[in-house]
C-alpha cells in the first residue's frame, strides 16, 4: 500500500514570495490533515478535511494561508506571501484503519526555508 505522498520535499524561497505544497493521501482515506512542525516542537494542526470539506480550519492563518481539496482526494496548501516565521516542516496526514486501530498516517513532509 502506497503511503501519503508529499511534494516538494524541500523548498527555499525569499520572503514575500508565494509557495505551494501538494499532498496525495492514502487511497480511500477521506480525512486529510495539514500540520506545521517548527524545529523542536510537535506538529500543530492547520486544517482538517473530510472529503472536500474543510471542517476545522480554526488554526489556519487565513490572511496568508489557503488550502484546497477540490475533488476530495489530493490537497494543496498555499502561503502567499511567505514570511520568515513560516520556515518549518509542513506535514500532511490521512486517517484510516490498520489492524483494528484508526490512526493518522503521515507523509514525509515538505521542509520550507524562507530567507
Amino acid at each position: 500500500e502506497a503511503g501519503v505522498v508529499q511534494s516538494p520535499r524541500y523548498k527555499i524561497i525569499e520572503k514575500k514570495q508565494p509557495v505551494a505544497f501538494w499532498c496525495n493521501p492514502i487511497s480511500g482515506h477521506n480525512t486529510l490533515y495539514w500540520y506545521r512542525q517548527n524545529l523542536g516542537q510537535g506538529p500543530e494542526l492547520l486544517i482538517r478535511y473530510e472529503n472536500e470539506e474543510a471542517v476545522d480550519d480554526s488554526q489556519l492563518p487565513k490572511d496568508r494561508f489557503s488550502a484546497e481539496r477540490l475533488k476530495g482526494v489530493d490537497s494543496t496548501l498555499k502561503i502567499q506571501p511567505a514570511e520568515l516565521g513560516d520556515s518549518a516542516v509542513y506535514l500532511c496526514a490521512s486517517k484510516g484503519w490498520r489492524g483494528g486501530e484508526e490512526t493518522q498516517y503521515f507523509g514525509p513532509g515538505t521542509r520550507l526555508l524562507v530567507l
Binding site: 508529499q6 523542536g40 506538529p43 486501530e101 513532509g109 521542509r111
Partner: protein, 113 residues
C-alpha cells in the same frame, strides 16, 4: 502551557540498555498515540492506547496508559541504534475534537553503539 508534556526532552543510552519515555497530559486522554520520527522524515505510527491500564507491545517497544488516563509511558528494552530518533506522543484530549491530535514536543533518543 503545553497540554502534553514529554520527558525527558533528550536521552542518550548505550546500546543494549533499557529506557523509558513519559507523556503526561493536563487533561483526560481519550486516545494516546506514539509516533517515531527520523530527521527529514514523517511520523511513523507505533501504537495507540485507549483504555485505562492498557498495555501494548511491538517487538521491543511497550507502551502503557495509566488507569487515570492522564499519563503514558513508552519503554524500550535492549535498545539498538535503529531505535534512535524522536519519539512523539499525540493525544485526543477532553474538550477538543475527537479527530484532533495534540502532540508533545518529542523526546530525542540517541543510542550509542
Amino acid at each position: 502551557s503545553q497540554e502534553l508534556e514529554q520527558s525527558p526532552q533528550s536521552l542518550i543510552v548505550q546500546e543494549g540498555k533499557n529506557l523509558t519515555i513519559n507523556c503526561t497530559s493536563s487533561k483526560t486522554l481519550y486516545g494516546l498515540y506514539w509516533y517515531k520520527q527520523k530527521y527529514g522524515e514523517g511520523l511513523i505510527f507505533l501504537m495507540m492506547l485507549q483504555k485505562g491500564g492498557e498495555e501494548k507491545s511491538h517487538e521491543k517497544i511497550t507502551a502503557k496508559l495509566d488507569e487515570k488516563k492522564q499519563q503514558s509511558s513508552l519503554h524500550i528494552t535492549a535498545s539498538q541504534p535503529s531505535h534512535a530518533g524522536i519519539y512523539l506522543c499525540g493525544a485526543t484530549l477532553s474538550g477538543a475534537g475527537s479527530y484532533q491530535l495534540t502532540f508533545g514536543k518529542g523526546t530525542k533518543l540517541s543510542v550509542i553503539p
